[in-house]
């Protein structure tokens, strides 16, 4: 568990390419996420598609200028930065008729095909993707046994996981 101290420091900001949706982001992104939530109704999707700027200005006047722009430009990482949460922003992608992997490709700066191929190859490796600061770059998890050999390893069978 994080301690009070590390909580204030947000230890999870060390994870690269990751926007942990905490209370600060949730507060910042409230109207952005509520806008996305509004797209769960067919009539709202229709109204949004008919005139995106008008829909935003009329129904979500409390969006910041940055949020409004990120929505209109479909800047999915920027939306996360500005307090969006992926479960919400995914509804915008769905409204556009995109499969989720399109959004993933946008967020990872890749093509959809390359992203799909990456997943088929077993996904993005965790090695090299643990830590911005490098502090945890080499550390594996406390539960992964082959990174911390124990007596039980003498069972003969090498543990894969």
């Amino acid at each position: 568990m994080a301690t009070a101290k590390t909580r204030v420091e947000k230890d999870y900001d060390d994870i690269p390419g990751t926007y942990v949706f905490d209370a600060d982001r949730s507060r910042r992104g409230y109207h952005l996420n509520m806008f996305c939530m509004s797209l769960m109704k067919a009539e709202n999707r229709k109204a949004f598609k008919a005139d995106e700027a008008k829909y935003l200005d009329e129904r979500f006047p409390l969006l910041t200028r940055e949020q409004r722009e990120a929505i209109l430009k479909r800047q999915y990482n920027r939306m996360l930065e500005l307090g969006g949460n992926i479960y919400f922003t995914a509804k915008l992608g769905a409204t556009d008729g995109h499969p989720f992997q399109h959004l993933a490709a946008v967020m990872t700066g890749s093509t959809q095909q390359d992203y799909a191929d990456l997943m088929l190859r077993g996904g993005r490796p965790v090695d090299g993707n643990r830590s911005r600061s490098g502090k945890y770059a080499r550390a594996a998890s406390s539960i992964v046994k082959d990174s911390k050999p124990k007596q039980k390893a003498s069972k003969g069978k090498k543990r894969r996981g």
Partner: protein, 320 residues
């Protein structure tokens, strides 16, 4: 007396639901996933639970950012599928078990868990995909389901330790329910995946296998994982694996792992699935072993074996 006979974990990837709803389960990509649950369907047909407790998380369907319950227990008579953006999934309405759910609520609140009770709630793919994986696509779900929605959307989710302890409290509640009921508890979500940001696509199979191993043998070790470690190793959205610990806490300390399946990927996610049975009680086995017969092999890929070594071999094959 009601009792929990077994626990099941399963990923609840929305794309699996889409594959089912769009009749694409026979495509090789999806076959690989669904085959992993063939034996499980046989197992649960034999185990015949009277009630399922389904631990899952809502994905901005029933709950937005207006009200965020840490633990929301469904005490309603029924739970319609949510409209997640394309109309509700064409799956049966989930029938609840209001009496048992209320009994659990009362017991668990007096045991100092701070539930939110929902007498009206829609349920999304987080709950319905695992029901499909285990029960297929029947006209009606074969038994009532009590949904338990856990916040894993806004940080912080409940700690793994808290989840584990809630599982214990649920078990105690079930065992004080006077009616004879066989209960199976599902923990859903995971395994490693990240679907947001530049790190999207992260998969960590080493971690996943270690998690599965410990889930069976040493779950207390998993209760010590910080959210930070879970997110770093298993992805920002992989943190939903804390929910599996509710399932595990509701079981005996020592359990029989009767089945395991793991494959990468389903859409953006590592799929993990395990079936754990409580050990023999009062002289009789609490539930059925999966049938070792019938399950046909299709094409190149054999149906997954019950033995872990074999299951792993399969995984090897699937991923290569």
């Amino acid at each position: 007396m009601a009792r929990i006979i077994a626990g099941v974990t399963s990923s609840h990837v929305p794309a699996i639901g889409a594959a089912i709803d769009n009749h694409r389960t026979n495509e090789p990509y999806w076959q690989r996933v669904f085959e992993g649950f063939e034996r499980s369907k046989e197992w649960i047909a034999k185990a015949k639970p009277d009630v399922v407790i389904g631990v899952y998380n809502d994905h901005a369907s029933a709950f937005s950012v207006e009200v965020i319950p840490t633990f929301a227990l469904g005490t309603a008579a029924e739970f319609p599928p949510a409209d997640e953006g394309w109309g509700p999934r064409p799956v049966p309405v989930v029938q609840g078990h209001p009496e048992l759910a209320s009994h659990i609520a009362q017991s668990v609140i007096l045991d100092e868990f701070d539930l939110t009770l929902c007498n009206k709630m829609e349920v999304d793919h987080g709950l319905t995909v695992p029901l499909n994986l285990m029960f297929g696509t029947p006209k009606e779900w074969p038994c009532p389901v009590i949904p338990l929605a856990v916040n894993v959307v806004q940080y912080p989710p409940p700690t793994g330790h808290r989840c584990f302890m809630l599982g214990k409290a649920i078990r105690k509640a079930v065992e004080s329910y006077p009616e004879d009921l066989k209960v199976v508890i599902f923990g859903t979500g995971g395994m490693s995946h990240q679907i947001s940001g530049q790190r999207a696509g992260l998969i960590n199979s080493k971690f996943d296998h270690a998690f599965l191993d410990n889930l069976t043998k040493d779950p207390k070790k998993l209760t010590k994982l910080s959210h930070l470690e879970l997110m770093r190793e298993a992805g920002a959205e992989g943190v939903e694996m804390v929910m599996w610990l509710i399932m595990r806490g509701a079981l005996d300390d020592k359990v029989d792992e009767v089945y395991r399946f793991y494959t990468v990927p389903a859409s953006n996610t590592a799929v993990g699935h395990i079936i754990l049975e409580n050990k023999i009680k009062g002289g009789k086995k609490t539930s059925a072993k999966p049938a070792s017969t019938k399950s046909a092999s299709r094409g190149k890929k054999s149906a997954p074996k019950m033995k872990r070594a074999a299951a792993r071999q399969k995984i090897e094959r699937v991923r290569s």
